[in-house]
Every structure is written in structure tokens, then in C-alpha cells.
Symmetry: C3
Subunit: 172 residues, 3 copies
């Protein structure tokens, strides 16, 4: 059940430790987005990171197109800045639930392939809470230069939801 392109690491203890580290990473990541601290969001990525939000349909078909495509720290920061401004005009609460974290393997360069299911709930003023987006993070993590913690080299948010609402461009 390992991904096709990654070398499996056989040591279960190592994989479990990585899972714990990734769970903690994802909890911090979600907390920053839930709190609307968009300016901190790029700090979870490497300088050359790829961040994509795309439909499962497209991802399964191998299509590179997506709703959001950001490559490199500059584009991530631009996105965070643009959305922080937009958010002022459309107040909403978003809440992320990240479950089912799985480490798929570690390649010879130390890049960790991992997945997790995510659900984003949205609450607009005076409206009931709804399911905003459901999907799967397909991630590639690397260790920080100072060895303290992880960074995302790649996060593909592959969503099942086929109806796109106007706030989908928020990072997930």
C-alpha cells in the first residue's frame, strides 16, 4: 500500500515517529488557518514549495490543472496577502479537521511522502455550519535545515467536493 514512486522504509518505529511528527505539524498548520493568521501560513513551506488545490477527478487523471497552483515562496506569500485582504469583506469561520495521517515512505533524499484526510467546515454569519471542503492532503515533507521539525516541499489538496464556492481559494 505504498505509493508507486517512493522507496519504502521498512522500520516501523521510524515510520511511526514520522507519523507523530506529521500529526503535530498538521495540527499547528490547521490552528494557524483556523485562527485566520494567514501571514504565518507560508512559514510551513520550503522556499521552492509547490502548493496545489485540485479536484480528485483531475488528480486521478494526472492533469496538472487545479483551482490553485502556487510555486515558490513568492507566490505563497502573494496568496496569503491577497486572501487576508479579501477576508475582511467576507467574514467567515473555517475549521480544519485532519485525520487518518499515513506515512507512505521516505526516499533516498530523505523526502517523506505522507497523506491525511482533511475536512474544512465553514460558518458564515447567521448561517448553519456547512462542509466547505473534503479531501486528502498528498504531501512531501523535508526536514528543516536546523533539523527542528518539518517543512512542506509539496502539498496537493485533492478535494472530492465538486461544487466550488467563492471562498475555495482560501488555503486549506
Amino acid at each position: 500500500m505504498l505509493g508507486e514512486t517512493v522507496e519504502p522504509v521498512v522500520d516501523r518505529t521510524v515510520l511511526r515517529e514520522l507519523r507523530f511528527e506529521i500529526e503535530e505539524f498538521n495540527a499547528e498548520y490547521a490552528a494557524v488557518l483556523d485562527a485566520g493568521r494567514l501571514e504565518e501560513w507560508p512559514s510551513f513551506f520550503t522556499e521552492d514549495a509547490l502548493y496545489v488545490i485540485t479536484a480528485k477527478e483531475n488528480a486521478d487523471a494526472g492533469l496538472p490543472v487545479g483551482l490553485v497552483y502556487s510555486e515558490g515562496m513568492g507566490m505563497l506569500k502573494d496568496r496569503a496577502f491577497a486572501i487576508a485582504k479579501t477576508a475582511m469583506f467576507a467574514p467567515r469561520y473555517l475549521r480544519h479537521y485532519v485525520t487518518n495521517a499515513r506515512v507512505l515512505g521516505v526516499d533516498s533524499d530523505g523526502v517523506i511522502a505522507a497523506e491525511a484526510n482533511y475536512m474544512v467546515l465553514q460558518t458564515l454569519v447567521d448561517e448553519p455550519t456547512t462542509i466547505h471542503q473534503a479531501g486528502c492532503y498528498r504531501d512531501r515533507f523535508v526536514r528543516r535545515p536546523d533539523s527542528r521539525g518539518l517543512l512542506l516541499k509539496e502539498r496537493r489538496c485533492v478535494y472530492d467536493s465538486l461544487l466550488i464556492d467563492n471562498s475555495l481559494a482560501f488555503p486549506v
Copy 2:
């Protein structure tokens, strides 16, 4: 807060290790179903496994009836095959979120009693994502003959949802 029929294991370290193992099992199990790889689904069970989907109302009343009742590998494989065929005609995405894993105890035969809450979200073409099923796994795990990993000897999917839609027969 232990189940009535299981001998408690007092060693918290052992219980915690089992929880981690079960979390990893459930994440793999969910990933297989989320990917629609139904032919792999029976491989999570023992040859004599019991797999049941039943309403909480019935489970609480001790009724054996359920929406789905499969006993033994033959019935599990039949079910997987039948649904794989059905699924072609009713395209949908299902996504499983498994949380709150708890190990209740280990009996003298080494059978592990455990529970976890599950939620299955469903996305049909051009429709918003909805809550398909919410409930609790009531499980009995045994260790594989080769000691590598666990197998389900029994999984009772006890759902709260009282409205049954036509796709409920999908494994959860």
C-alpha cells in the same frame, strides 16, 4: 470504562502501543475504501471474520439484525465484488474520517477489543458533500499469523444515522 466481556490489561504502555497500531490499521483501511479499491477490502479481515453494519437502535437493543451481515471470507469477497460492479453505475466519492480510537482491553486469547468513531462523507457528481454515515466501529482484532500487523476478527459498524440511502451497502 472497560467493556463488560473483556479482561482489562492494566499496562498503559501496552494499551497505547495497541492504539497506535489500530490507528494505523484504520488509516490504511479507510485509504483503501476512499480509493475505491474494494478488492483489497477483505484482506483486512480474518478467514472467519464477522462484518456487520447495524443501527445503534438495534445494537443497543441487542438485536442481531442489521443492514449488512457478512460472516466469513467468502461473503466478504462476494460483497466486495458485487459493490465494485454496482459502483460503476453510480459514481460517487466516499471519504472516511476515523477518530477517537480507544483500546478497551485484551482477553486471554489475545483478542483486542477496540472502538473508534467514524464519519463517511459522500460526494456525488455536481452535488455538495454530505454526511453519508456517522457511527462507531466496535472491533475485535487479532494479530496476523506472521505477527506483522493486525486483522479484524469482527467489525460492527454501528451507525446513528436513521435515514438509509441506496448506497449504504458500501463497506464502511
Copy 3:
């Protein structure tokens, strides 16, 4: 990303062990509520505990007001008793999903600050399952006098959902 008022503990191993302990606490807590065993609910708190359910809007504004405000074991027991009686007249299933547990720090008195996202799904007879409440636990834990496990000294359930239905006074 630590809270403002707590001293950070730098040892990651200690924080991770606390996370595991809190995850197990929250899973037991949720199981008691999911099973409707309201009389056991106060046993998760200290004698002087504070239990609050409040809107994110109010919490962010630093307002002490909330939908529910219980201080001390007497009020917790009164609440549990009152709701257990009410519940007989309004049958419903509630199911708690607790994810994204984070330990923020431990202060010099050993009080552990932690957060987790929660979602409560509700199923009424003959109705589809709906999102009843989505929010964040803002907790302060202490160790039990006998050192076995944790107790809540403070649990603030800060919800995003702005529409309040008649059952919101159920503990979450």
C-alpha cells in the same frame, strides 16, 4: 505558536507524551457523552473546575458571557442531572469527533494548556445527521492526585456555529 500566558516546555518528548495522554482522555470523554452516560461526565473535572460553552465571537472579544457557564463540581452535577432528565423527552444521538490535539505548554504549577478541534454530529429520529456544533476545546489539565491520568481544571468549548438550537445546552 504557544499561548501567551503559559511557560513553554521545550522537551518535545514530554509534550508528545502529554498529547497522547490528552488524546486518550478526550476519547474517553467523548465516549461517555456519545453513550449518553451524563452522570459520569462530571468525573472528568476537578472539584473547582470551570466549564464554559461560548461563541468564538465572544471568546475572541474576551467576553466572559457564554451559553453555558458552570463553576465547580456542584454546578457540573446539577447540569448533568438536568440534561439527563430533559434527554428523555427529546431522543437524539450525538457523536463527538475530536481531532488536532495540541499541547501548548505546561506552567510552573504543572497545569497543562491544550487545545483540540471538536465536531458534534446530531441525529434525530427519522432525520438526516447534521452538524450540531463545530469548535475548539481550550483546556487546562491537571494530574489526578493519585497521578493516574488527568482531570480538566478548565474546559472552554468555543464554537463557530452561530445558530443555536434547543439542544445546545448538552455538554460537548
